[in-house]
């Protein structure tokens, strides 16, 4: 068996892809973002609620797509809750690093997200791993606009 495959699809990842955490939609007061990868059809609807203190109060997602995109979204929502914008951005940067380049010691703050490091051996799958994060990045950009209900056109 291919060890690259085993690293890519670790049991935690398959588990998150099958039973995603924080799956759903935040009804009130959240920023909603739609994201997709047109070439593969992966889609995500992300809702992010920012607290009065500017911290990420809640994150939920709905979506369909491959195991990598679903697991990445699920793990992301778990890790982002309670983070400040600065920390969240730092996490985004760190996550992008581990799925694209060799990182000797992946930062501990990424927690189980580090299990997605196997993606870097599969360059065509990086966009799957990044889908939820790109949506979150957009949510950050629109944080100032206050709660939205519209979805983002591509």
């Amino acid at each position: 068996m291919s060890t690259e495959l085993d690293e890519l699809y670790q049991s935690v990842i398959l588990d998150h892809s099958k039973r995603p955490r924080n799956f759903g939609e935040i009804a009130d007061g959240a920023v909603h973002v739609h994201g997709d990868n047109p070439s593969c059809g992966d889609e995500i609807d992300l809702s992010v609620k920012f607290g009065a203190d500017g911290l990420v109060e809640d994150v939920k997602f709905k979506g369909m797509g491959c195991a990598i995109s679903q697991a990445s979204a699920s793990l992301m929502t778990m890790k982002l809750k309670g983070k400040s914008e600065a920390d969240a951005r730092e996490m985004l940067r760190a996550f992008h690093d581990i799925v694209t380049v060799e990182v000797a010691e992946p930062p501990r703050m990424l927690g189980d997200l580090r299990l997605l490091a196997g993606v870097k051996k599969f360059p065509q799958r990086v966009k799957c791993a990044m889908l939820a994060w790109r949506a979150f990045e957009q949510a950050l950009e629109r944080k100032g606009d206050g709660p939205t209900v519209s979805t983002e056109p591509h």
Partner: protein, 407 residues
Amino acid sequence: MTSIDWAKVRADFPILAQQVNGKPLLYLDNAASSQKPRAVISALVNYYERDNANVHRGLHELSSRATDAYEGARVKVAKYLGAASAEEIVFTRGTTEAINLVAQTWGARFVREGDVILLTEMEHHSNLVPWQMLAERTGARLRFVPVAEDGTLALERLGDLLTAEVKMFAFTHISNSLGTINPVAELCRAARAVGAVTLVDAAQSIGHLPVDVREMGCDFLAFSGHKMCAPTGSGALYGRAELLDAMPPWHGGGEMIVTVSYERSTYKKAPARFEAGTPNIAGAVGLGAAVDYIEGIGRATIFEHDLALTRHALARLGELPGVRVQGPRDRRGGLVGFTMDAAHPHDLTTFADQHGLALRGGHHCNMPLMKKLRLPGTTRASFYFYNTKVEVDRMADILAEAVRFFA
């Protein structure tokens, strides 16, 4: 039965004898693009090493040879399609360009506000988007023949849909995601009865089974060379002479003009009228070589071979838990699209690739059909005459392993 030595045929394809990710390459992405036999690659090399020059404009030896090779390829393609004459063959980059040519030139001349373009729900984006654009420009409307539960066209709806307002009925010969073979002659007959022009998208059928435009009774037919052993960037539009000659020119430039003054120009007849500028000469020469190669095996023989593999694949896939094959049981071409409960097409394709198996996963440029079928895409295995039963078995084994892996 046929007496083809398939192992010898397979040996004509240098690319197949390689390892991918440590495993022998098992190429089952033929519906996306076929591989090229040595005969076609050599035709390119010979062209560039002996005959290369610009066509039509020259009075020197190389230019004559290049022109003869280019026009000779046109004659081969015309015969291959059963066209009445070589003048009915316009070389294009492929299916997509050929369909856009028709939508833009025939469409500009013959389609008006309120007219209807009839398509089917199983069209590739290349036989859908050009017509959407034409509809937007002209105010014409699009209608679609529905795809029934079993993956075939809902032909009982044809009477309602194919009305006198229909100016064009454009449909695929073989669906690239469902594998459905459409009854093209019947569809052309029905269209003719209401005075509609027909365009057959032969991208998936051209190198796979006998295709004869006069038997089909179509007005236009579009195909790509790269799916029938020919070079990328080659392909053609067949158009009935009468229609081609009634169409305004497309691109302006060298070779398509009769006279040019600073103010205005007059244009040649088809096919030159639609081939402005220096064409893909070597591409056409390679396409001619591919025609010879395929005819050397025989399209009926190829169809039989691909069908046998498909039947075997259907049987093997049927044994796998949670695997559901899309498309009809019968009257289908050499490709199988399926879903696997345990794995999304992209995960499955990545898994397969690690085992040397080239499959394709996704919407296959059939986004609206996938949406209608409520599928996030499918995984597709598509066969060609160089594939073997042993390869199909290997594929099935890899997929069985995937079922376990992703369970």
